[in-house]
Structures are given as structure tokens and as C-alpha cells.
């Protein structure tokens, strides 16, 4: 949305979750920044091999957070979106013994997450605010407990190991496999980023902001708020599924923890950390989040949550635009 210079003058601050939205950052600049970020990610992955794993997970989570971003546009927080990520991940874990092909598993995971998103979405889009958040939370907890308790199928809290996968028919070596997953995650991230950008600029995407400001007015114009929200919800579920598939293929191990409510909280956390003003925000946030987590866990194993929580508090209290807000503020400062 940030690149639309022809945006009507009345669409303004409330469109962004944070008032200091990057309204002045053009498409060209955002694109350049995205390319720069992608190049930086590749460079880091090449220079520090073990960070490749961290970055792949960050890209995957960023994709899921893109979905959260859509709902945030409508002013709704889902405290249960990890259920779609877990659906994607468990789809891969369940099906991998029969179909080893990454390029088949990925769309299958997305399909199942989308179907679940449609079923859940039809129910939850009737609710707003706290009820919306809590219902998502409740349903994700149902999935969590099923994954935990149906031991015969899911191996409970032990989780399932994902066997080695094929990539377009070939079985790559470990190093190549890591690069392929990283590349796939990067490619999907860029694809979904562009999709979300186009969607948010479309009438359907713009109507989301209407749900946030004054839903009744939207309906006076003959637009079904539920349908608008449902579309966004299903799209976000699809992206959650893709993210989950990537997580399962990268970490090669899935546990019910993926669906626990704290995992959903992390996704919302990343959305705010990165800044909800741009499709780039989730990826900046996810990279920041995963890096802080890795280094905090290495430095003080017992207190990494404490450090992450403090970072979150500081961001909300002192940098409400997130990483993207700070970056775009600087970009505009240079005379946009």
C-alpha cells in the first residue's frame, strides 16, 4: 500500500497499523530495499553457513507473518495462526514417507492449510476484536491438543522426524539441500510479498482497512465485510501452510509446540517488530527475531524469552513503527 502515490488523500494514517506509515516510500525504493535485503540474506548465508538455517526459518516465518499482516490491516489479531503453520508442517511430516518430492509436498501443505483456513474462517469472520482473537486461540489449542494427545498418529510431544526429501526428482547432498531450501524460501517470500502488495492495493485489500475504521460504513456501500475478511483470512492460512511446509522441510522435525498459542503470539510479535507498514516488514522482523533468539539463547540459555520480551516491550513503547518504520522514516528523511 505504501507505494500508491495516487492513494486518495482521505486514506491516510489509519490505513497503517501505526500512524507513522511509510506513505512516502515509493514502489521503486521498496523494491530496491527488498532486493538489497535479499542480496544481504544470500551474502550472509554464504559467508556464515550455519546462519543459512536460521535465515531459511526466518524467511518461512516471515511468510506466515505476511498473513498476520493482512488481518492486522483489518484491525484483527489472530492469536492462533500457528495452527495453519502447524497444519502445513504436519502435512509434510505425514505425507513425506509416501511422497518424497518437495515440489509436490509444498502445494499439498498449502492446499490443506487453505481448506482448514476456509473452514475456520467461515466461523471466525463473524467475530471481531477480542472474540476474533480468542476464537482463533481456542481453535489452535484444539489442534495443539489433538497433535499432542493422538500419540499413535503424531508421536505426541516427541514429534515426527521428516525423512530426506527429493527435490525435482533428485536427492541432493546435505549442503545442496540447505541451499535449495534457502532458495525456495527466498523465492516464495518474494512471490508472496509481491502478491500481498498487489492484494493490499486492490479494492478487496483496501476494504480491509474499512473493517478496522468503521465496518458499518463499508456495508452501507454494499460491501460484505465478512467476505472481505474471509478472503484475507483464507489467503493468510495459505501462506501459513507454505511457511509450515518450509519449516518442516528445513528443520526436518515437527512437534505440537508449532501449534501452541505462544507460537502464534510470536508471529504477531514478529509482525509488530518488523512493522506492519510494508510487505517487507515481516521479513525484517523475522530475521531480527530469529537472530536475537539464536544469540540470546547462546548467551543466556535460561533467559532468551526474557530478552525477546524486553525487546518487544521496547519496540512497542519507543519504536511503534517497527524496523520498517525506522527504515522508511530514514528513507523519507532523505528527501522523498
Amino acid at each position: 500500500m505504501s507505494g500508491d502515490r495516487d492513494a486518495p488523500a482521505a486514506a491516510p494514517a489509519h490505513v497503517q497499523v501505526h500512524a507513522q506509515g511509510p506513505a512516502g516510500v515509493t514502489l521503486a525504493r521498496e523494491g530496491a530495499l527488498a532486493l538489497l535485503a535479499a542480496a544481504a540474506a544470500i551474502l550472509v548465508a554464504w559467508a556464515v553457513p550455519w546462519l543459512k538455517f536460521v535465515l531459511t526459518l526466518a524467511l518461512a516465518k516471515g511468510i506466515a507473518v505476511l498473513g498476520i499482516l493482512l488481518l492486522l490491516r483489518a484491525g484483527q489479531v489472530s492469536f492462533g495462526h500457528a495452527m495453519f503453520l502447524a497444519t502445513g508442517a504436519y502435512t509434510v511430516a505425514f505425507v513425506a514417507p509416501r511422497i518424497e518430492e518437495v515440489l509436490l509436498l509444498l502445494p499439498l501443505a498449502m492446499l490443506l492449510a487453505t481448506l482448514l483456513g476456509l473452514a475456520v474462517g467461515l466461523f471466525v469472520v463473524r467475530y471481531r476484536d477480542i472474540f476474533f482473537g480468542m476464537l482463533n486461540l481456542a481453535l489452535s489449542m484444539v489442534l495443539y491438543s489433538l497433535l499432542e494427545k493422538l500419540y499413535d498418529y503424531t508421536k505426541g510431544t516427541d514429534g515426527i522426524r521428516v525423512a530426506a526429501l527429493r527435490f525435482a526428482g533428485t536427492v541432493p547432498g546435505r549442503e545442496t539441500q540447505e541451499w535449495l531450501m534457502f532458495g525456495l524460501a527466498l523465492l516464495l517470500a518474494i512471490g508472496f510479498g509481491l502478491l500481498v502488495r498487489a492484494y493490499l492495493g486492490s479494492p478487496m485489500g483496501r476494504a480491509l482497512a474499512g473493517i478496522k475504521t468503521r465496518e458499518t460504513r463499508l456495508e452501507f456501500m454494499g460491501i460484505s465485510a465478512r467476505r472481505v475478511l474471509l478472503f484475507a483470512y483464507v489467503l493468510s492460512a495459505l501462506m501459513g501452510g507454505a511457511a509450515g511446509a518450509l519449516v518442516a522441510m528445513t528443520s526436518r522435525h515437527v512437534t505440537p509446540q508449532l501449534a501452541y498459542w505462544t507460537s502464534s503470539g510470536e508471529l504477531v510479535f514478529i509482525a509488530i517488530l518488523g512493522g506492519a507498514g510494508s510487505a517487507l516488514g515481516p521479513f525484517l522482523g523475522a530475521a531480527g527475531f530469529e537472530l536475537v533468539r539464536v544469540y540470546a539463547a547462546a548467551a543466556v540459555a535460561e533467559a532468551w524469552q526474557l530478552i525477546l520480551g524486553s525487546v518487544l516491550l521496547l519496540v512497542i513503547l519507543f519504536a511503534p513503527g517497527g524496523i520498517w518504520g525506522m527504515l522508511s522514516g530514514r528513507l523519507r528523511g532523505r528527501g522523498a
Binding site: 477480542i130 476464537l135 504477531v268 516491550l313
Partner: protein, 311 residues
């Protein structure tokens, strides 16, 4: 059906007794959450951490009392004292330093601020009490058990769980209803809940009311934890579990309902413990199934009031 009942009387009886004790604890947490939401308009995700810290503090204090050679009944004083301490220390600290900065801001941010608090408190709790289970069940053992007749059988059940827990919950319910409706401070809290601006225009110090309410809510959560501590061994993660359950209660009951929260706690507590005995796989799912079923039929919750839509 009759045969089944005859075969399972004992289990059903146990489920009822367990459910009652469990519902009492859930109510203590949910009612605090509800009260805080009413005044602050913030759903406090860290409310469960206060429950956990209350529980751990009570266990530690109880053990300290015991090793200091105090008489066994001092264990009960330890429960109440720990809850009061946690409320009095953490309540003002959290409200003054953090929550006060985000009143009136977007819901997303408020939720996340309390989520950040949850993450922080969760680790603080692990740093203080470690990850090994902590238990101090003296207050429960001290009272012994009573034989509850069920059909032809009797169930020995602890007096603590049968009388003390529901008793405290009932006293809290009645006391709170009386406090909010009959005392000046209580009515001021209700006034701020109903219409903060109007209340402030009448000269009510809303900042003070907020501080008071949050501290009180925190103390209730801590008391819930303290009361729970003798019945179970404490492990990391109880805070996270408690909060989602009390969310379910509050959403099912409808926001701002005290008596409603009590009935819903009972419903969900009983539902859960019946599941524990008859379908243990679904123990964790039952509260949410109840919640989803209720919200399908009554979107504002069982006792909630529909708000008019703004144009």
C-alpha cells in the same frame, strides 16, 4: 444408559468432585482477568504468569515457614500472604511502569505488550524457581480426607479440595459482588468500567482506580495460584496453560460478567474433569469445544450484552 451409570458411578462422582475443585481455581483467575479487562480495557495475557508466580511463592513461603519451625497451620497463612505479596509487588510495578503507557492504544499493541510481559515473567519464574517440579502439599494433607458417599460406594476426597477451594471461590464471588455494588470504592470501579470519561468528569481519579483494580486482579490471580499449589506439583508452563483456560471462561461467559464467570467456570471445570476420567485424550480440548459451541449460538457469550454497532 442406566447400566452405564451404575457401572461408572464412582468415576462420575470423582469427576464431579474434581471438577468442582478445579472450577473454583479457574474462577479465581478468570474473575480477576474479567475485572481488569472491565476497567483497563486490556486483555492481560500475563495474568496466567501471576497465577504461576503466586503458586511458586506460596510453595516457597510454606516450605520456609515449615523449616523455620512454625506450626503446620501457618501453611495457610503462607498461601494468603504469598498472594497478597505478589499482588502488592507485581501489580503496581506492572501497571505503573508498563500498562499505564498504552491505555487507549490499539488493541493489537496492548495484547502484545502483555504478551511481552508474559515472556519476561515466564523466564523470571524459571530463573527464580528453576525447571524442576516444586511441591508443598502440607496444607492439603493437614486437613485429611472425608468419605463422600456415591451410590453404594464412598470416595475418599481431600477436605481441602472439597471445602476450602470452593469455599474460597464462593466467598470471593459474594465478597466481590458486595464490594462492587455496595461500597463506595466498588461503585467507583463500576462507574469507571461503564463510562470512564463521565466518571472522570465527576471527579473520579481514574488513574487511582486503574492501579487499584489491576493490583486487586493480580492478587486474585496469585491467590488462585497459591490455593492451587498444594494440590499439584508446580512446573514451568502452568502460567501458559492457565491463561488460555481463563480466556475460554471469560469469552464463554461474556466480558464483564462476574456471576456469569462463576457459572461458566463450573461448566468448563466439570466438562474438563469429566473428560479427564472418560476421554483423557480430549481433556484439553473440552473447554474450547464448550466455548466454540456457546459462541456459535450466542456470539456475545452466555451472559454478555450485545453492543450497538457504531455508524
Amino acid at each position: 444408559m442406566a447400566d452405564w451409570l451404575a457401572d461408572n458411578t464412582l468415576l462420575l462422582g470423582l469427576a464431579l468432585l474434581d471438577g468442582l475443585a478445579y472450577a473454583a481455581l479457574v474462577f479465581m483467575v478468570a474473575v480477576g482477568l474479567n475485572l481488569v479487562f472491565g476497567v483497563l480495557r486490556i486483555v492481560n495475557v500475563a495474568h496466567g504468569s501471576l497465577f504461576a508466580i503466586g503458586a511458586y511463592s506460596a510453595a516457597s513461603l510454606g516450605l520456609a515457614f515449615a523449616s523455620a519451625g512454625l506450626p503446620p497451620w501457618a501453611g495457610y497463612a503462607a498461601l494468603v500472604l504469598a498472594a497478597a505479596l505478589v499482588g502488592a509487588v507485581l501489580g503496581p510495578l506492572v501497571e505503573r511502569l508498563v500498562l499505564r503507557r498504552i491505555y487507549g492504544q490499539e488493541e493489537v499493541l496492548q495484547l502484545l505488550v502483555t504478551f511481552a510481559l508474559f515472556m519476561i515473567l515466564e523466564d523470571v519464574q524459571k530463573l527464580i524457581w528453576g525447571v524442576q517440579p516444586v511441591s508443598q502439599d502440607l496444607p492439603m494433607k493437614l486437613l485429611g480426607t472425608v468419605d463422600v458417599p456415591f451410590g453404594d460406594d464412598v470416595i475418599p476426597f481431600t477436605i481441602y479440595q472439597l471445602f476450602v477451594l470452593p469455599g474460597v471461590a464462593l466467598a470471593t464471588l459474594i465478597g466481590l459482588a458486595w464490594f462492587l455494588r455496595r461500597t463506595l470504592t466498588g461503585r467507583v470501579i463500576v462507574a469507571v468500567t461503564t463510562d470512564k470519561e463521565a466518571a472522570m468528569a465527576m471527579g473520579i481519579d481514574a488513574a487511582r482506580v486503574t492501579l487499584l483494580t489491576f493490583t486487586f486482579g493480580a492478587a486474585l490471580a496469585a491467590l488462585g495460584g497459591a490455593l492451587a499449589s498444594p494440590t499439584t506439583s508446580l512446573v514451568p508452563g502452568i502460567g501458559a496453560q492457565t491463561i488460555v483456560l481463563s480466556f475460554a471462561v471469560v469469552a464463554t461467559a461474556g466480558l464483564g460478567q462476574i456471576e456469569g464467570a462463576a457459572l461458566t467456570s463450573l461448566l468448563i471445570g466439570l466438562g474438563r474433569s469429566v473428560a479427564v476420567y472418560f476421554a483423557p485424550e480430549f481433556e484439553v480440548v473440552v473447554p474450547y469445544i464448550i466455548m466454540v459451541a456457546v459462541l456459535l449460538v450466542r456470539p456475545q457469550g452466555l451472559f454478555g450484552v450485545l453492543e450497538t454497532r457504531r455508524v
